[in-house]
Symmetry: C2
Subunit: 340 residues, 2 copies
DNA sequence: CAGAATATTTGAATCGTTTCAAACATCTAA
DNA sequence: TTAGATGTTTGAAACGATTCAAATATTCTG
């Protein structure tokens, strides 16, 4: 086998009988080269099977046409959806998107940031695992253009796209109360996740304003179906008189886990004994054992908007102004929370 | 703002009072440089906030430490799981993985292959949209090391990791027949997807060997929940005497769509009137309105094994031998297919 | 302490593109 | 026919890390 399988612009130039610069122009400024020459070069390119070496191109350019996205949990359909939205928009703007999964772990988050830095990515979208203020500072100090996703950047330190989680929490709690429930439980965790705290705080506020209603906080190990199932199993053991008559789960995965636990064991009827509402309104909420009520977040829109803001910061550096976009969440009522 | 924000090895060398080569050695051959020197260099690196430029490094190396994965449908949890498995393994082998979504569209598949080629990826994993033989040839002609995922590479043209879809189809059909069902329907599509055809063929074989059993093929527009729901709505209109008494859906998403249609309209009881089984055993199958029976594929294992094979082809080029790994699917019975 | 053996450090050359000022070619108008 | 404008092509000089043979420093042996 030959030593160097990959032809370079050099080889193309030689075969087409033109100079380096001309080949490059055919590739990047097709306008300036004469038709006949261009055709000759194209022919040489396809004869040799030449493919641009992106590393060399980037090295020269100093930066890439790639965006990075770090999500909290790639197995959560909400984030898949955000990623899809972001990718669609990125591609249509001529960028590529690569996705990293932090699993809410700051070390892994940093690992990806390091990777993105080495690759001189044009910019990054981060759904931060830790404190947003600190993260944004860190990113800035690394001269990385960044947009916070599913969070709000503090004091105009950068752009962000989020959803009003307090409002979402209020919607959920108010709905449960409207159904006549009093002993509300909040299930979610760990509580160091900001979104979880905000949703809880929103709910608490509403509950505390309502006479006779109480809220009980049950911290889960994570935001997964499994974590939800564990909490559910624990609740099964409690006395039906004192246990919650309504649960607000911090996301749909947890809610589905609770549902599994309650229904598979046929011990607790939903919504009769316990009303249940989740958060995110992922596609599978609708198709769960009992149709799951939820607080909808416009996932795809969040992804798209994030890319738009990042794009503006990258391409219009001069005129760019940081913006905080906040979407309003929306209540979606299904069987799990409303006895008809 | 300064012109060039990013320090280079040059800058580090200057500050530390050593030569280029020494800095490079600190980075790549820490063993050979004297302790004191190394510390001085490290100091300079952190003082300047130096971060390696991966483009330059790759250019010199001629190839990257990144693997590419192209999946048929990123919104299908089965593929998310494959991707997770692949990423985990890749990272533990010192590689990064980037994922592209072809949406079963050959153009998009080619787009990603082009991208991966430009990036001189170490290798690619592809779950092919079209013909595997052709694709493998094409990849080979581009000197890309590749492993086919969820397919079988023909005549030893390369490595592949798949699942025996014929066997899966047989399992599903046999199970439905064992439940006493006779009018089996297969829902899936488009039929140009190889996996779909194989599952259908496996099922057909079993049905045709069974006296009195028939199979009806209903081609769906895609492999999504929505496509399933459309077919379901069509079936609702049919006469209950002649319509199928069992359905084998080509994947769980379609099955969930069917379930939605049947149950939301409260028109068809599952499994009493129609027994239903899906394919993939995604996590949400268990939590569907009616627990969904399915044919389980070891998604994470598929991802991991694919990376292992690719890794061997990359690192042990001399001794590498192409292998076709085929996993056996497994029947998982839940409520949707078995009246107790 | 000389001389060999070993440990460190050096820096020019290289990877494949893109850029851009300069050179060359062709066309236009007088 | 020619000066000037316009259209094409050229090729050397980056970009930033890695490599490696050669140079230099240090340690060891007798």
């Amino acid at each position: 086998m030959a030593k160097n399988l990959r032809p370079s612009v050099q080889d193309v130039a030689r075969l087409a009988g033109v100079s380096l610069g001309t080949v490059s122009n055919v590739l990047n400024n097709p306008g300036v080269v004469r038709r006949a020459t261009a055709e000759r070069v194209q022919q040489a390119i396809s004869d040799l099977g030449f493919v641009r070496n992106d590393a060399a191109r980037q090295l020269k350019a100093g930066k890439s046409k790639t965006l990075g996205l770090i999500v909290l949990d790639a197995s959560n359909p909400f984030f898949s959806e955000v990623a899809r939205g972001a990718e669609d928009r990125a591609v249509s703007l001529g960028y590529s998107l690569i996705v990293g999964n932090s699993g809410n772990d700051e070390d892994r988050e940093n690992h990806y940031i390091g990777l993105f830095e080495e690759q001189r990515m044009a910019g990054v979208l981060v759904s931060p695992a830790g404190s947003d203020a600190q993260l944004m500072d860190e990113l800035r100090s690394k001269h990385l253009r960044a947009v916070l996703v599913d969070r709000t950047a503090p004091n105009n330190s950068g752009c962000s796209v989020g959803v009003d989680d307090m409002a979402g929490g209020k919607l959920a709690a108010q709905h449960l109360i409207d159904q006549g429930r009093k002993r509300i439980a909040f299930v979610g965790g760990p509580l160091n996740i900001k979104q979880v705290r905000d949703r809880l705080n929103g709910a608490s506020e509403v509950v505390n304003e309502t006479a006779g209603a109480t809220i009980r906080i049950i911290e889960s190990a994570g935001m997964t179906v499994l974590a939800g199932r564990e909490i559910g199993d624990r609740l099964l053991a409690e006395d039906s008189k004192s246990r919650p008559d309504a649960i607000f789960a911090a996301n749909d995965l947890i809610a589905i886990g609770l549902l599994q636990s309650f229904v598979f064991n046929s011990r607790i009827r939903v919504p009769e004994e316990i009303a249940l509402i989740g958060y995110d309104d992922i596609g599978f909420a609708e198709t769960a054992i009992v149709g799951l009520s939820s607080i909808r977040q416009p996932a795809k829109e969040i992804g798209k908007t994030s890319v738009d803001l990042l794009f503006d910061e990258i391409e219009n550096l001069e005129t760019h102004e940081h913006r905080q976009v906040t979407f309003r969440p929306e209540l979606v009522v299904r069987a799990s929370s409303s006895c008809i």
